[in-house]
Structures are given as C-alpha cells and as structure tokens.
Subunit: 296 residues, 2 copies
C-alpha cells in the first residue's frame, strides 16, 4: 500500500517537474541556445534531486510553489554540471541518459554556453516576480543553491576529482571529494525543501544529517553500479571510472565493503529521519531506500 | 576639480573592489580551483561594471554593503564569461588583461570549472548571512543578475555571436546581439546599484535608459578599439574580430559612422541622467565619458 502510494507520488511529481521545466527552459532562446538547454535537461534523468526537494517540502508542509521552483533549479544545476563534465576537456563522454551528449549533438561551444545559461536560469527560476515566493525565502534558496554548487561544493569536488585521476586516494580524501561533488547538491536539495516550511532547529539538523548520509550513499551506489551494470541499463557509459583510472568506493573499499557501506549510510539516513520526529517523512524515507536499491 | 575628484573616486573604489574580491574569492579552495579563480578575476580589468554599480548606488544614496557585493558579483560574472569565451572551443585566445588566459595557465578543464564556480560565487556574494543586506534586496539583486547573465542576456548574446561568425549581419541583428552579450550586464550593473536605494519609478526608468545607451556605447567603442589599437594597449589580442571574421560596428557601419554612433549614445546616456533629476549622478555622468573616451 505505502509502496504503491509512493510510486504514484513519484510518477505524479516527475510529471509536474517535467511540465515546470518545459515552461521555464526557453524554447525560443536565440541561435539554438534554448534548444540545447532543453536537450540537456528535459526528458531524462532520475530526478533524484527534485524528488528530494519536494519530499522535504511535504515533510515540513512547506510552500509548494517555492519547492517546485527549487526542484527545477537544483535539476538545472545538476544537468548543467553533466553537460560540462561530459565535454572533451573533462570526461570526454559521448553518451548520457541514453542519448548523445550535448556537445556531440550541438558542438562544444554551444554545450558550454548552454551549461552556463542553465546555471543562470536556476537563479532566475528561484527569483520570480510577485509574492508567491516571499523574498526572504527566495534569498535563502539562492544562498543554499549557490553554496552547494560552487567552490566549496560541487565545483570544488570536481576539481578534486580532476586532480585525482590516476592517483591513489585514501577513503578520507575520497569521502571529502564526494561530499562536495555529489553530496553537497543532494543535501542542499533536502535543505531547500526544508526551507520552504518552518522546521525547528532540531528538525533542520536531522534533515541535514539525512541529506548528508543520503548524498554519500548515492555516490557509493553510483560507484557500485559503474562496475556491475551495463551501459544500456545506466543510460551512460559503464566502466568509465575504471577506464579513466579514477579512484572509487569500489576500488578503495572493494565491492563487498562498498555494498555494506551503502547499507550503513541508508540506516544512518533513516535514523536521522526518525530523530526529526516529522510526521510526513514517509516519502523521504522511501527515497532513501530507492537511492540505495536502484539499478541505474 | 570635478575631474580630479572623479579620478580620486575611481582609484579609491577600485581599491575597495579589489580588497573585497580578495576576501571573497577563496585562496584555499581545493585542488587549485581557488588559485585559478583568483587568477581570472583579481588584479586586472577596467572594472567598468563594479564602478557603474557603485556610482548608481551613490546616485540613489543606497546601501553601500549591498552595492559592494553587487559590484563584485557582476565582476565575477563578467570575469567567468571571459574565461569561458577565451577557451579553444570558443574564441581560442591566449592573451587577456596582458597575461596568458586561464586555460593556457591552468588547463581547459580547470578553466571551465573556475568559470562555473565563479558564476556560483557571484550568487553566494549576493546572499550573505546576517542583516547588512535585507533579504528582499538580496532576492532583487539575484534576480537582476541572473536575468542579465542568462539566456535572455549575456549567454544568449554569445550564442548569437557564435552563430554569426562569417555571416553578414545587418545593424538590427548586430544591435540585438550586443544588447544581450554586453549591454545586459552593463545595464544590470546600473540597475543593481539603483536597487540598493529607493529610486522613484521615473528615476529607475531613466537609469535603465542610461544603462542601455552606455551598454551599447561600450560595445561600439570596443569594436573601434579592436581595429585602432595595438594588443599591448588593449591587454588582449587586437584585430581579433577581423581575424575571426566577426561582424562588428566597424565592419557594418564603417569607422567614421561607428565613432559618430558612439558619441550619439553618450549623449543619449547623459540626457537620460539629466532626466532622472538625481542630484548625485556626477560619477555616472563621468563614467559615460570615460567609457566612450577610453583607449583600452
């Protein structure tokens, strides 16, 4: 019953996110820029970050309009980072979400610009005219998103990643890299959703701990799937970390220990949720399971 | 007298902007990312956009802390766009502000990441904790900056620029490209400064018209300097537009008409300032002269 409700909620939210992105990512932007942006973000991806925003909003009974904007903004940041990450000067990847990558389809210059414009668009989406999203909440959401996307978060993690190719990393450095590269934006998704309501300080801290554990779990599972799944299941090139000689949780811990670590992190996320005392945290709880149990 | 005061004001504000950027662009960011970011934005550039923000703040007697943050944020956006624009997949330029470009110095991947992190940092700088900048003003500044940097502004203009290489453009399309590519961010600089105070609707419109005319004048003069100045005066590769077969105001209008057009736009900017009725608009007025009369 709960599981069926959850699947229904997921499908319905994914439709809502897709419609919102459809309306906010411009089709008519000049010189094909909008077309490249839409190609990079519409109709693809697991949308884990938007679902986390929306589930956290439900948990705190928050402002739905603000949460939908935050959900799309964080997905725009994630999608732009994939576009730039796939470019020849970074991972040089040709397949993403089962399609040719943006630079393969539209050229490198357009791919870089589309990514740049998507980052700006994320902050446009967070700062609408009118009073549906109070100005103080707009500022708070911009602050959370910018800090998780920037030098201390995602971009910083990518720089560590870049510098680590071919080098042995200990678990501590690997964890620091992933905290920033993937964890920061996933945790920010939870906190942006939480910010749309009025959680207590204790609830905020518990949701922060949930987001932190879930963010790391996500990356551990990603590393596991990179060696255990075929490219067609993943929708992106499998075995890529190994080919690029990148340290991963699997290379550092081994496959068995990586699986146990993912399970521990899930437990940690669930414990944090229980600690929050939030009555409506069911979707967050089931999302943590979904992140760990996924096969792509 | 006024001229000497102005030069003193400019020097003192440039020092203040440099100190603020020094403090906000991280030296210790991981894996050399902060070093690349600082290389790309510190100690260089004419800082036209920060000066416009600060002069507009003076004109409306606005919030100084907010204006300094907006000044640095808009310069971060400008500097990131130069880093990405100089990369091999775009203009492939090796010289900027008299130094090797960021990708020449640090590699393409780090240059792309540094640019990405600088865009995020702009929005971090605009959304500080505490109450020195009221939340509503933070949201307004983020909105103005995001819209001028994104698909409808700077990034959109660059996409048109990219698509126009080797094609004849009429003056209308050239103007549209520059309105977005350079004009949007220059105009936003004026409006962000204005937003730190409480201008009347009429003053806002007049400052918007001033920023619009000044933004176009800036680009017309850039096109003139590209053919009339040597690389060492410009601090970047001269004759680059011609080499890249890019349409410019000089190729479309001819040099003499381009010069007359720049003078007309300056007059238009000054007329808008006069219309604003703002008592403290002297720096804005002298900045319009400076933009048109510059030799680099």
């Amino acid at each position: 019953m709960k599981r069926a409700d959850f699947e229904h909620w997921v499908r319905s939210e994914l439709d809502a996110v897709e419609s919102a992105l459809e309306s906010w990512v411009p089709a008519d932007s000049p010189a094909g820029l909008g077309v490249a942006m839409r190609y990079g973000v519409l109709d693809g991806g697991k949308r884990v970050r938007p679902l986390l925003v929306l589930a956290a909003c439900e948990a705190v009974n928050g402002n739905r309009e603000a949460a939908m904007r935050a959900a799309c903004a964080v997905e725009l940041i994630h999608a732009y980072s994939l576009i730039h990450d796939d470019m020849p000067c970074m991972d040089n990847d040709v397949l993403r979400r089962g399609k040719p990558t943006v630079h393969v389809q539209f050229g490198e210059a357009q791919a870089m610009l589309a990514g740049d414009a998507m980052q700006a668009l994320a902050f446009e989406v967070l700062t609408p005219d009118g009073d549906a999203v109070p100005a103080a909440l707009q500022a708070r959401l911009c602050s959370l998103l910018a800090r998780s996307a920037g030098h201390a978060g995602m971009a910083g993690g990518q720089a560590i990643d870049l510098a680590s190719i071919g080098k042995p990393l200990d678990e501590h450095t690997l964890r620091d890299m992933h905290h920033r590269k993937t964890g920061a934006l996933l945790q920010a998704s939870v906190l942006m959703g939480a910010a749309t309501g009025i959680p207590t300080a204790g609830q905020w801290d518990a949701l922060s701990a949930y987001g932190d554990a879930l963010g790391l779990a996500f990356q551990v599972v990603d590393d596991i799937l990179d060696v255990t799944q075929a490219s067609e299941t993943l929708g992106k090139t499998a075995g890529k970390d190994q080919d690029n000689n990148k340290p991963t949780y699997v290379t550092v811990l081994g496959l068995g220990a990586a699986r146990r670590h993912a399970a521990e992190l899930r437990d940690k996320a669930q414990a944090a949720l229980a600690r929050s005392g939030l009555a409506n945290a069911a979707w967050l709880s089931l999302l943590a399971d979904k992140v760990v149990d996924r096969d792509n």
